[in-house]
């Protein structure tokens, strides 16, 4: 066997090992952050009644919605294993159930379920980009709407 062949095989072996190690080690847990936000057309206008911890999200939401006030009602963090359920109580007898099921490349597959009075009203399956977030909104709440911002990070 030539020297070239030996080097190639050695490199391939190292590469295969590192890739398989990466697949195993790439996030055995998922840090999931759920922010419950109340959005309304408040009297204070933009910024005055908006929570400072929501700065990044608000900019994006304001590019789509007309709401001027964004108030953080709850911020819950979970360190979830795959297929482990996280639960967040929402206003108006609603509950959010969130389960990270697996990963696909740089994305985390989440199963999200919203219940109202123990009855499922909304279910979705999303592929969330690692270190990124999505927002689910719509349910009416106190002259405004309820927004749920979910972010996920592979640990």
């Amino acid at each position: 066997m030539t020297k070239f062949m030996k080097i190639s095989i050695l490199l391939l072996a190292i590469l295969s090992l590192s890739l398989s190690f990466q697949t195993v080690s790439a996030g055995s847990q998922v840090l999931t952050d759920v922010k419950v936000i109340h959005a309304s057309t408040g009297r204070g206008g933009t910024g005055e009644q908006s929570d400072s911890s929501l700065k990044g999200i608000i900019k994006e939401l304001q590019s789509v919605f007309k709401y001027t006030s964004y108030r953080l009602l709850e911020d819950k963090r979970f360190n979830l294993d795959f297929n482990q359920q996280g639960l967040v109580n929402l206003p108006g007898s609603r509950t959010l159930l969130i389960v990270p099921s697996d990963t696909d490349g740089n994305r985390i597959r989440y199963q999200i379920n919203i219940e109202k009075n123990y009855h499922s009203i909304f279910q979705t399956q999303v592929m969330l980009k690692n270190n990124s977030s999505l927002t689910i909104g719509g349910p009416e709440l106190d002259n405004g709407v309820l927004l749920i911002n979910i972010s996920g990070t592979l640990q």
Binding site: S8, L11, L12, Q22, S63, R109, Q123, I136
Partner: protein, 159 residues
């Protein structure tokens, strides 16, 4: 070979045949030859040996045909050419750049089925890809913001 004449040595005679004697000595020996039987005999012997040798070498060289030489040279040239080609194509010979390029190509090919995600731009695409939505309400919107491509799922709760 012994000779009685002491005026010229056998070496002088040999040099005379090869025309290596100084001109004066050459002339002197030439003048001496008709008067000396010993030197003359030795000269004849040397000349006959020299003639026999040159005749033999001429015959030998005449025996080699030009076509044979040409064929032999052609054969050797082809063998050399074949060896050079083998050095180049046989696992890329000694060309280090070709070796590196081929190793890179092998790695790239192997990466493809293993993990395509490594080659993709991680910042590309929306923040979330919505695979499915199941709700008892009819109004569901999926919005993507322009700047950060933040995904928003919007549903209207009917009362």
């Amino acid at each position: 070979m012994k000779k009685k004449c002491n005026r010229y040595t056998s070496e002088d005679i040999s040099r005379f045949i090869d025309r290596e004697l100084p001109l004066e000595q050459y002339r002197s020996f030439k003048h001496h030859l008709p008067h000396c039987r010993d030197c003359s005999d030795l000269l004849n012997r040397y000349q006959s040996v020299s003639f026999a040798f040159s005749h033999y070498t001429d015959r030998m060289t005449q025996g080699i045909r030009d076509a044979d030489i040409e064929q032999k040279l052609e054969k050797e040239f082809l063998a050399f050419e074949k060896k050079s080609l083998k050095d180049f194509s046989g696992l890329f010979g000694k060309n280090i750049y070709l070796k590196l390029a081929s190793i890179t190509a092998i790695i790239m090919i192997c990466l493809f089925p293993f993990n395509l995600g490594l080659l993709k731009d991680p910042s590309a695409g929306p923040s979330a890809i919505v695979n499915s939505v199941d709700t008892e309400y009819t109004s569901v919107m999926i919005i993507e913001t322009q700047k950060q491509k933040h995904t928003i799922i919007w549903f209207l709760e009917e009362t």
